[in-house]
Structures are given as C-alpha cells and as structure tokens.
Symmetry: C2
Subunit: 197 residues, 2 copies
C-alpha cells in the first residue's frame, strides 16, 4: 500500500474452513475500523461444490471502482484444491501463504509455509479456527491494518461465546507471521529479469 | 428469472441488522443448494459509517461475468437511510420491500410494506432476526429458489444454538410474503408509457 493504492487478497479453502467469514472480517477491519475502503465478495456456483470455497477482499485508500481481485497481492490457500486453482494468479511481487497442515504439494517461488490448521488446533482445540489464525497471519504480514482494527472487527462479527477463542487464534497467527521474513522470499520474476540483464 | 437469466437483489439497513449475513445466506441458497450461480458482495468505506450497511446478490442460471448489482430487481430496505440512498435504482419492473417498523417516509410506486422488524420481535423476541424475516419475504416473493434450499443455507450458516429461532423468523417472512399480490403493484413505468400511447 506504500507503492500502490490498491491491495488485493484472496482466501481459498474448503467449505467448512470459514474463508467467507475471514474475508468479511478482513474487509470490515479495513473499511469500518481502519478508515480505508474495502470491497468483499465471493462467487457460488455448481462448480464450487465438493469442498471448494474462495472469497476475496480489495483494500484501497480511495473509493474502489472495480471491486474484484484482478491479481492478488496475497493468496492464502488453506487446502490443496484452492492452491492449485489460484497459484498462478498472484502479482509478481505478491506471495502465497500455504497452510502446510492441509497442502501436500507446495509450489516453488514466493511461498510462505505455515501449519495454520495445526496452530488453530494447538491454540483453541478447533481446526475451525484456522480462518482466524489466517487473519492473524495476514495482519502480521501486510501491516496496512492495525491489530486493534482487526480485533474490533473480530469482536463485532464472531459470536460472543467464541470471541476469546477466536482472538487467541488470531494472536497465534500474528506470532507465526512474525517469524517470517518477506525479504527472504525469492525476488519477483520481473526483478529477476532485470538482474539478468 | 423466467424472462431473464440475471436477477439482482440489494439489501440495505443499519450495521446491526445483519444484511451481510442475509445476503450470504441468499447467495448460498442459490449457488450451493439450488444449482444456480450467485455472486455476493459488499463495500465498506468511511462513508458507510453511522449505521449504514448494504449488501448485494446477483443470481443467474449462467456463470456471472459481472458480479455486481447494476439495477436491483428487488431492494429490501430495513431502514430509512438505506431506502433513501437506493430507492431510485430499482429496475422498471422491480420493486422495493420496505420494513415499515423502521421506515417512516415510504415512497410511492412499486413498494411493498411489511413490518419486518415487528414480525421478528413477535416471532423470536429479537429484532436482530429481521434479516431472517427478510429472507423469508424474499423467498416468498421471488420464487426462483426453493424454500428447502433457503433452509439448508440457513442451517449451514447460523450458529446451531439459534438455528430454530432463525428458521422460525424465516417462516414468518414467507407467511408475510404470501399476503402480498405483486400483480396489485402499480405497473412498471415503461408499461405505463405503452398504455398511454
């Protein structure tokens, strides 16, 4: 967001993993609590059956004309099918966050490996909290939305009975993200090209 | 949907009225349980503060190229601000459903008046269930998605502890819709024009 007004995030996984809720919380953290603009969406159709789910968020400092993800800055893949479908779409300087608890075949390149579902189970006893761990990872990596804005969005959206558990999962995601050094990722393809000249 | 492949629904209200959840359930009823295509989205931004919320759904028999509402077939307005902002946008043969529990200034024209929030309180004791009453109203009026598809989508999306109450609110919405005769609405502006010739 320092270089660009527009930031695109796609989250994909299977039906029960809560990717729609995660993307709504992300959009509300940005749009309702951080003072940015955000658009959140998902598509459903016969082809989306069989445990595949995808939701997306566009965040911008300006009103959003085209509210769909064109090429994600971040793809979060909570299962193999979501990864396989969307791995080629990321921006040159974007990256993929892979849940290594569920994804066996991890591609080369600008990929961050985090055992998101395992962390969810360790922290909360529930694999369902993987979506909140993912939000923590996103919060820790993108640094354009304050942690408190995420927390307010989480509290506003999840049932009161599960709020504490969800915030715990979110915290664990932030801790996992803090161990990641984005500068250690392979350079974007375009930069490689320039270096080769 | 008999005449057109594309059907657009916009739901608007204040922050706590659950319009986002209602529109997600509507899209999932269509896209996951009815075998149609559906796109669901909402925008957030600084201008959306102060208790204003809007979410939208596009339903189609074919894959959806442009997933945003262009001109709604139905606008459901749960509060005055949402109605004021969006009342001019509906399609010629579209209509507006107004929650007369919250809306004081109701426009002329193709408008259906239902005390949605009052019904929610009567049936469930909770004004928050207005969004599920709205879904029942939509189900009863549009007739392109089976009641069972709505029920499956509701059960999949709401917390188990509130499922029965939400289904009760939904049923009450269907009953309210059954009292409405769409043929009694004023004719669409274009038809009026033709009749004048």
């Amino acid at each position: 967001m320092t270089n660009s007004l527009r930031y695109e995030i796609r989250i994909t996984g299977s039906g029960g993993q809560g990717v729609v809720l995660a993307s709504i919380i992300l959009a509300e953290a940005a749009g309702q609590f951080e003072g940015l603009y955000a658009a959140q969406s998902q598509n459903y159709g016969p082809e989306a059956r069989g445990g595949y789910s995808m939701a997306e968020v566009v965040i911008s400092k300006e009103p959003i004309d085209y509210p769909f993800v064109i090429s994600p800055d971040i793809l979060v893949a909570l299962n193999q099918e979501g990864l396989n479908r969307h791995k080629e779409e990321i921006k040159g300087d974007g990256f993929i966050v892979v849940d290594t608890s569920n994804v066996v075949h991890v591609p080369e390149g600008r990929v961050i490996k985090i055992p998101i579902t395992e962390i969810a189970i360790e922290e909360t006893g529930k694999s369902m909290a993987a979506n909140l761990v993912s939000l923590g990872v996103i919060c820790g990596l993108i640094k354009i939305i304050k942690k408190t804005s995420f927390e307010r969005a989480i509290s506003a959206r999840v049932p009161k009975a599960t709020e504490a558990l969800n915030l715990k999962a979110f915290e664990a995601g932030i801790r996992a993200a803090k161990k990641i050094k984005l500068s250690k990722l392979p350079p974007p393809p375009s930069e490689e090209l320039i270096e080769d000249l």
